[in-house]
Symmetry: C2
Subunit: 228 residues, 2 copies
DNA sequence: TGCCAAGTGGACGCAATCGTCCGATTCGAC
DNA sequence: GTCGAATCGGACGATTGCGTCCACTTGGCA
């Protein structure tokens, strides 16, 4: 995984190309934050100070751009999962993981949509990473349940429910930390074993990979017409 | 306000016009369910078997069409609130209200977006209805808290958090009853007074009317490019 | 049955966005 | 400093959706 390109001495790509790529990513995050993940590609290019063709050369599709823009955040998520597994108290690890991912969804507007959009991604690398994340998370859940803190009827697929719900909230109220924290706190409390006073309905049993997001995905903004 | 048209005896409008209006509403629900609330107006018109101009005459803006399409569901919501207030056990009323609205959000795809989009509506009628709903709901909350079933730190604005989160879930997983029920069950359990084992963060204190939805609203679908 | 306004439908002009093509420019090795 | 190649950026044609205009049809009262 070291030999991706070896033309120009070190780094592989030309210096200006690399610089432009970075500029595009910064601009993409800014534009996505302001106008949503559907913002015109040309807007991103203009903000980055590059031409449209340059943008398309670096990122042939919108998905590629989105993935590139939030790669850092995605890495943070997987690291949070690793940390959670390493934590001495599995419940604290679990709790911290949920809070971290939700905070991430909140702070970088546009990331929530990118996050759920990445689930069904077919890229080999992503498939592997996702499968591993699923396995790790299931392990974390089992440990937290064995420690007696997490209710035993919590199902690993519940995390998808939580993330999708929080994604909806974060998208509707961008940057509203109070609402986000409130929702997360309610949910975490109901996940505690000592809060389980009633049986739950059957788990949704979603596989992260089977989310039908890309099929038609979250529907667009309620409206914005009245331009007359 | 009676003499908008007085040519045709009873009803005010001509029979075929009324029939077309109904056909448009049915088509709108169908199309919104399939392609989201942003579906082209022309598609709705075609499905209804009418021309675009006819559609625009009945519903000058997309918002008007959306409002018309889900007026019935909105009425169901307000009735559910009335019923909840009338219920002998305020907690059961509260619980039933939440479940009803969420079930409604789930069954009629496109309704969730319409529902949250309607919050900041400036129509006089809607403003009045919304204010009344807010007052009634606050009353319901107070009663449920006094009965000892609802935790005392539940804030009326939490309902907005719940509905937005559930809306996100319902939009991402249209028709997935299992996920919806699961989320609602978790949340309802955490609202019980006997589940309150930790203090909550501060409430989001949203007013339904101040939701910044229309400003830029829920961001579009994660992507769908790759048309090449 | 005949009249006329309300109602209807499709075509049209406008605007936004997409993704590609091509000439000009810049990089960096020699 | 020079040259070849990679890169750049704007323009372009195509597609899609919006909302209006206008000529035709239809409903229902006289």
């Amino acid at each position: 995984m070291v030999e991706s390109s070896r033309i120009t001495a070190r780094g592989g790509t030309r210096a200006d190309a690399r610089r432009n790529r970075e500029r595009v990513l910064v601009a993409a995050r800014a534009v996505f934050a302001e106008r949503g993940i559907d913002a015109p590609m040309a807007t991103v290019a203009r903000r980055a100070g590059v031409g449209v063709a340059t943008l398309y050369r670096h990122f042939p599709t919108r998905d590629a751009l989105v993935r590139g823009a939030y790669a850092q955040q995605m890495r943070t998520c997987t690291r949070a999962l690793t940390d959670a597994l390493a934590a001495p108290d599995p419940w604290q690890g679990f709790r911290h993981l949920v809070e971290t991912v939700c905070a991430l969804q909140l702070e970088e507007r546009g990331f929530p949509a990118a996050f759920v959009a990445a689930f069904p991604d077919r890229t080999a690398e992503y498939t592997r990473a996702r499968d591993r994340a699923e396995r790790d998370f299931a392990t974390l859940v089992r440990r937290a349940q064995e420690s007696g803190a997490l209710r035993t009827d919590f199902h690993p697929s519940d995390i998808a429910v939580v993330l999708l719900a929080h994604c909806g909230l974060a998208t509707a109220l961008p940057g509203d930390g109070a609402a986000s924290r409130r929702l997360v706190a309610y949910l975490l409390q109901s996940f505690r074993a000592d809060a389980a006073n009633e049986p739950l309905p059957a788990p949704a049993a979603l596989s992260l990979r089977s989310l039908p997001i890309t099929a038609d995905g979250p529907q667009g903004r309620p409206s914005r017409s009245s331009r007359h």
